[in-house]
Symmetry: C2
Subunit: 332 residues, 2 copies
Amino acid sequence: MRIAIDAMGGDHAPACNVQGVLAAAEVWSDIELLLVGDEARLEPMLTSRPTNVRIVHAASTIEADDEPVKAVRRKKDASMVVSGRMVREGEADCMISAGNTGALMTTGLLVVGRMPGVERPALSPMIPTMDGRGVLALDLGANMDAKPEHLVQYALMGSMYREKVHGIPKPRVGLLNVGTEAMKGNDLTKQVYPMLEPMPIHFVGNVEARDVLEGNCDVLVCDGFVGNVFLKSLEGTAGSLFSVLKQEFTRSWYTKLAAAVLMPGLKRLKKMMDYKEHGGAPLLGLNGLVLKAHGSSDARAIENAVRQARTALQHDLIHTIATEIGGNTSGK
Amino acid sequence: MRIAIDAMGGDHAPACNVQGVLAAAEVWSDIELLLVGDEARLEPMLTSRPTNVRIVHAASTIEADDEPVKAVRRKKDASMVVSGRMVREGEADCMISAGNTGALMTTGLLVVGRMPGVERPALSPMIPTMDGRGVLALDLGANMDAKPEHLVQYALMGSMYREKVHGIPKPRVGLLNVGTEAMKGNDLTKQVYPMLEPMPIHFVGNVEARDVLEGNCDVLVCDGFVGNVFLKSLEGTAGSLFSVLKQEFTRSWYTKLAAAVLMPGLKRLKKMMDYKEHGGAPLLGLNGLVLKAHGSSDARAIENAVRQARTALQHDLIHTIATEIGGNTSGK
């Protein structure tokens, strides 16, 4: 198993990426790790020399504020693009990047390429839930407008990912909607509902946004626009509440004292809500495994992403999805 | 000014509705309040007899679990339907109901009727923001699928409501989107953006879900499906966080003690997040003023809804909207 890591992508690249890779190399001797990036910068960072880590030189880097499509088209020697090319050409089985999300989605589409039969790949992060299981939500922004067939493929791909990578036997698949009754929703969800029922998945019907955090499904299906609004309102609400709590708790010396007592609980809650804790987001529906690690990934996050990739590869995720998609959808 | 109140709708009806109306009648002698409902039940509840309160008999009631369209069509003598008919026939200038939301939207459409030129009325509640101003969001669920023209009308109507009823001189109108750049979004928002720019409103561009709570606009425009998902994820996140906080704060006697010290702050935060505090939600785009009070309205909430209705009527809201809509949109 060969995993290419975009060494230059992310807020703490390349240092944390290198550290994470070295740590992962030590734990799993059955994988080969390819650090893709500027050799001159990476070489001195190798504090150890595990035999299963290798540097692959890439002369440039896609920056966080680069325009995605332009950057991928022009910077053919960027670490992200080189990693994608290695996946396409079979030199790597997977790529991981903590860089520019838009550029990674573009790299997935233009460099790695779509899986035959899949029209729209989906960005599929884990959203934290109160029961700690988390929910894989897709699509959260790879495609703004989706057709019913796309959502059906999201459901299939998400279900397989949860089963193969997270070991959940019959993942509960829910359709994000405005009510739980079958006929609720907009034109899209009304069309998708009856299409999901005969699929070989454990479809639990419509789920409302307010119940998702309580953990009522393992896979949440929605179009990229709605999914993105959903995720951001979740993040925004949590962020705003924490900032007001902080204000309230620092009003006086005795509220500060009381807050100190409650700090461990607050920290647990904050950690629970932090979706960085939940690993990388796969881009599902590509002709190879592509994982988006969070932009602010530290060494541990990179190591976690490698663990995730390894599990997916061990279970032959991409091949399984390709077979299932081929058998269950028309590919339109 | 004559305001019809559905005396039988809401979790605490008719008692709280009657109390709220009696309180309002005392404060504002320039309005006439019509309590619409079962006379035999309402009559004994009139603890005082202000000259500006009158009971209008309605024999039946639409229940919370009634199927909206069926209920409105069949129960022609329901308090909600009778109130709507009074608005249509000019016997009342406004109606307020805390009953079944779906039935009220149906009453608005089928009984009160659409404003000429408006294809889709919008449910327009206030969403609390951290700065205490709140934001009027529309549509939050009256119509699941919207065309660009509908969103333009939502923007116009919402802006006028904020100006006339809340006294905000140039309300900032934002388009709910996945990014702030003009070309972001799905087909719908990409079409709407350039249509909003020439409108006689203070259009501040796209706003992201995560920034809405920080108060970056006074009017938030979106389609009913996205709006509903947005509102429910906001409610769900806040609800889940509060319930986890409660767990954490009751772990031991010393966390309980600390929590007691922080309780005033937590209560302020909870109140800030409570959208019941922000008054009734107008159904904009109807041929008369229809206000949805929260289902769990107490007497004070009903009194507040009356205050809101009175302000809207004083500023001739419906006529102003009709003129503006007639002048600025084709009505398609």
